[in-house]
Amino acid sequence: MADVRSIRVEMLARVEGEGALEIDIENGAVESVRLNIFEPPRLFEAFMRGRAATEAPDIAARICGICPVAYQMSATHAVESIYGILPSPEIAGLRRLLYCGEYIESHVLHMALLHAPDFLGFEDGIAMAAEHGELVVRALDAKKTGNALMILLGGREIHPINVRVGGFYKVPTKAELAKLLPGLARARDTAVAMLRWAATFEFPNVEGDWELVSLRHPTDYPLIEGRIVSTSGVDISADEFETVFQETHVAHSNALQGSVRARGAYLTGPLARYALNFDRLPAHIQALAREAGLGPVCRNPFKSILVRGIETVYAAEEAMRLISTYTQPKAAGVKVVPRAGSGAWATEAPRGMLWHRYEVDDEGTIKTARIVPPTAQNQPAIEADLLEVARLHVDDDDETLKLACEASVRNHDPCISCATHFLKLTVNRR
């Protein structure tokens, strides 16, 4: 008679969205792992059909509360690519600055309140705060600085409304931006402190062999622009995305799952950006990474907390650089003249690459829209991680196994709400 063991996580904590996790164990061996995403489809691509392409940035920004800038930026630049609009250096700088704000608030929140408790044995960030209060307070202050950037440049911290096709509705003065510099300097110091703190954590000895995919820019650490590259030799423009990557439907998930047509699962996000762009980090940040125990490539998903620390340091310093070199443009944006065509763009959301494509008619009405969020792309890789982690913990009791699997999912800071367009765990032991 087979030894059947069923473990079911009905609602995974500290990830965004609704989903469940099911693990089948037969005679002590993990047979399969399924990430069941039951968050209903959100149908944003259908909402956009028939709307003006100039509305795409505001509609797309509503997809996510933590990375609305990413959605806004991919949408804006995709439409601008159709209309032949090239942002001025000042506008491009402000958009990169806005993106830095999103990186700071998203990464700091994940490091301090969502991810760190997994390594320190706390139920959540609130419980952890009783023992690590000073760091949590500093993290909240850094998050507030990220929010302040979002408010000044985006009009508000959640679902910003100040970015438009062709530029911004309103641009800040140099003096308004300069007021953020002390907070950004503190955020930078906090990120360094959090990185050094996280470097003391004990990390499971796990490595993923996923193909890593991210943007790569000729000179900068990628946020808003670049070619799509991978550790297996992909080097394409955003327009070519669908020739290399595909999304497929699986029965156990409402989110589509991304794969490389020729090879299968791949991973986007901090580990991919870092591995493919380590040489784009300033030398002193590379040195910080080495001090934290990271090489130029990190394939241990649990160590993504360290990479988020590196990226937060970078984002804070980049924001300070952009403010110090800022010159207020004479115009907040350029006139938009609609024309028929299609265009695609990818940017780097904090949790991974976000690709958009739009087709518009000659009046500027959206005929089709396609949005491929990072968590949909990462799902197969997350399931592959889960399989390895479940095998490592298969002899543990169900509660230990469940906690390890939840932590494995949180390594990737998934946004299931975005991808469907939360999580339950079931382990079936037979």
């Binding site: 965004e16 933590i66 929140l109 969502l114 609130i126 705060a129 909240l140």
Partner: protein, 167 residues
């Protein structure tokens, strides 16, 4: 002695405007700093540093009695977790209060007025029962010296319609 009243909620989402409406009715009329806030509640923690008395006014999810006022003293207990948002991307008041208590920054006296709403649709009007409850909460906060240091003993002319217009 410092006091802070925060009306929390999105003024453009139907009955979620209850908190901001109370704040508008009380601003400048009570011996307390009065703020309107919405969005990420974690950002509120820095607002109530060095505050002795904190009053949070928020809309509550429908529980069968629109306009019903729940008065909670958080001296001992956190807000019920059923009131949490369930989102990791935008922490709500329950998480903010619980985190502040663990950090030792929750004001010694923290009161919550939660007004049950019925409709939170974007652009929806505030329902009459919630409008009445807004006036009731504002009147209580203005009249109860035990809860807050009151600048004027006489209750201000609290017209909820004015609060709504101001939004």
């Amino acid at each position: 002695m410092t006091a802070l009243i925060i009306g929390f909620g999105n003024p453009d989402r139907g009955d979620d405007a209850a908190g901001p409406m109370v704040a508008r009715l009380l601003a400048g009329r009570v011996g307390a700093r009065v703020l309107e806030r919405h969005g990420d509640a974690l950002a509120l923690l820095s607002e109530w540093q060095a505050v002795d008395t904190l009053v949070l006014v928020d809309a509550a999810a429908p529980m069968g009695a629109p306009g019903r006022i729940h008065r909670l003293d958080l001296a001992e207990a956190d807000l019920p977790c059923e009131l949490a948002t369930g989102s990791t991307h935008a922490f709500g008041l329950p998480e903010a209060v619980a985190l502040s208590r663990r950090l030792g920054t929750l004001p010694a006296r923290t009161l919550v007025y939660a007004i049950e709403g019925t409709c939170f649709d974007p652009g929806a009007a505030v329902c009459p029962a919630v409008t009445d409850a807004v006036a009731q909460v504002a009147r209580e906060l203005a009249e109860r010296p035990g809860a807050l240091p009151v600048a004027r003993r006489r209750a201000p002319d609290l017209d909820p319609a004015k609060g709504r217009e101001a939004l």
